[in-house]
Symmetry: C2
Subunit: 228 residues, 2 copies
DNA sequence: GTTAAAATATGATATATGTCAGCTTTTTTG
DNA sequence: CAAAAAAGCTGACATATATCATATTTTAAC
């Protein structure tokens, strides 16, 4: 199994603040997992008891509403950590994470992370900063959900996908989402998402080949997101 | 000026984890402020450079949407801390806080808090836990905003107000909100909020005397919040 | 206390979005 | 490869909510 000390992935998250010694300890207790597309990394109500470091792949993090509909809260990708929150608040997860493509993740058990949080202020501070950043993003999402129309949110989502995930030579975004996923991100009915996406397509703003997405006119999408 | 070491308010927040020595230092550099109803505690874009500890009163924390409408993200009351986030991420505030009634707050400058965060792991851990909790709540709000109707959200809001703020002998909630505030909490037009509130009133679920709110039927409101 | 301003209320109407139903295409499974 | 299942698409219709206009009541200002 690969060693954390030598793993480049940690550069993308708070684990980079651990000392060599600490990393060796993490490495000794961590386990590797491969999650296939469509399979859960963890589910609502489950005790995670550790932190996942995403080595490769993407997962959708969602939550069931009382109405029985699924809301995707965020997309987590290579380099991200997930699970710190439940660990810190010592509660079962309030979220479900499902792989959107084949994933490779490392799992570090709770005790090791807690120990590092207590002993290494740099690490703790980094986790704290990360949370502050996430909280800020959450505020933005709340405002967006509360104030923007479905069309605005969908345009916004497309722009963000392009920014967050790589685009290949043909301009195709390196992530495949179903229409239902889109609906669950913006918080609408699948049919509405389908209709609006094909609207965007008709207007020449995006192109779809199956689930491949290519953004043709970011500027116009931005205008729509802003309400024009 | 009163001393932090002797202040009971700190029992309600992370400051309770500071040592006597640390509290004495905090006390020495803190300032007291009185904010009148309607006045801002701080505004979007402002560098706060410290943390506020709310000694008395309530404020609404909001953010402007691109559509030009105000969204209230949360209500902060006696005992709460506010400002840690901007301090930790070292950025100007993304939020505005406006007093809903006369407030008394203490302001502790950044340097002192940062010093405590670096030196006192208990304090840091407490702040971390607090953030994890807020993040969880944010997830819930996002799901609610994305998936529930305005009516559901309004019912939910009324229930939460009753839980969060004291109720006097006559059953009246100890917080006055305008119809516009209600609209800005649930993310709707003021007219819609007015209509729905008077609907609830007609159905005997709530009672209004001006801005005084009395909840008459929590159970029924809960049903509405859940979509019945 | 009178006037002006703000908040609340209500009606009419337009529009966005949800829901249901049926159909086609794509993907999965054996 | 065939059959079944899932995903995508489209139309018709119902409904929630926004918007605009106007009236009334409450609060603030002089």
């Amino acid at each position: 199994m690969s060693k954390c000390e030598q793993c480049i992935i940690k550069q993308f998250n708070s684990l980079k603040h651990l000392s060599r010694e600490e990393l060796v300890r993490v490495s000794a207790c961590k386990t590797s997992k491969f999650i296939k597309k469509g399979e859960p990394l963890f589910e609502e109500g489950e005790r995670i008891n550790g932190v996942f470091c995403i080595k490769d792949g993407v997962c959708k993090v969602s939550k069931m509403s009382e109405n029985g509909r699924n809301q995707i809260i965020s997309l987590i990708k290579k380099g991200d950590l997930i699970g710190e929150r439940s660990l810190i608040s010592d509660e079962p997860s309030n979220l479900t994470a499902v792989a959107l493509n084949d994933m490779e993740v490392c799992f570090v058990p709770k005790d090791e992370i807690m120990r590092d949080l207590e002993k290494n202020p740099n690490f703790t501070m980094s986790v704290l900063k990360d949370m502050a950043k996430t909280l800020k993003k959450s505020d933005n999402v709340i405002v967006e959900m509360a104030q923007k129309t479905v069309k605005q949110r969908l345009a916004e989502t497309l722009i963000r996908l392009k920014e967050k995930f790589d685009v290949n030579d043909d301009g195709i975004i390196n992530l495949q989402l179903s229409r239902e996923d889109f609906a669950n991100i913006v918080g609408t009915a699948t049919e509405s998402a389908i209709r609006l996406l094909s609207d965007f397509k008709k207007k020449g703003l995006v192109e779809f080949k199956g689930k491949e997405i290519k953004i043709l006119n970011t500027q116009e999408l931005e205008k729509i997101a802003q309400g024009f």
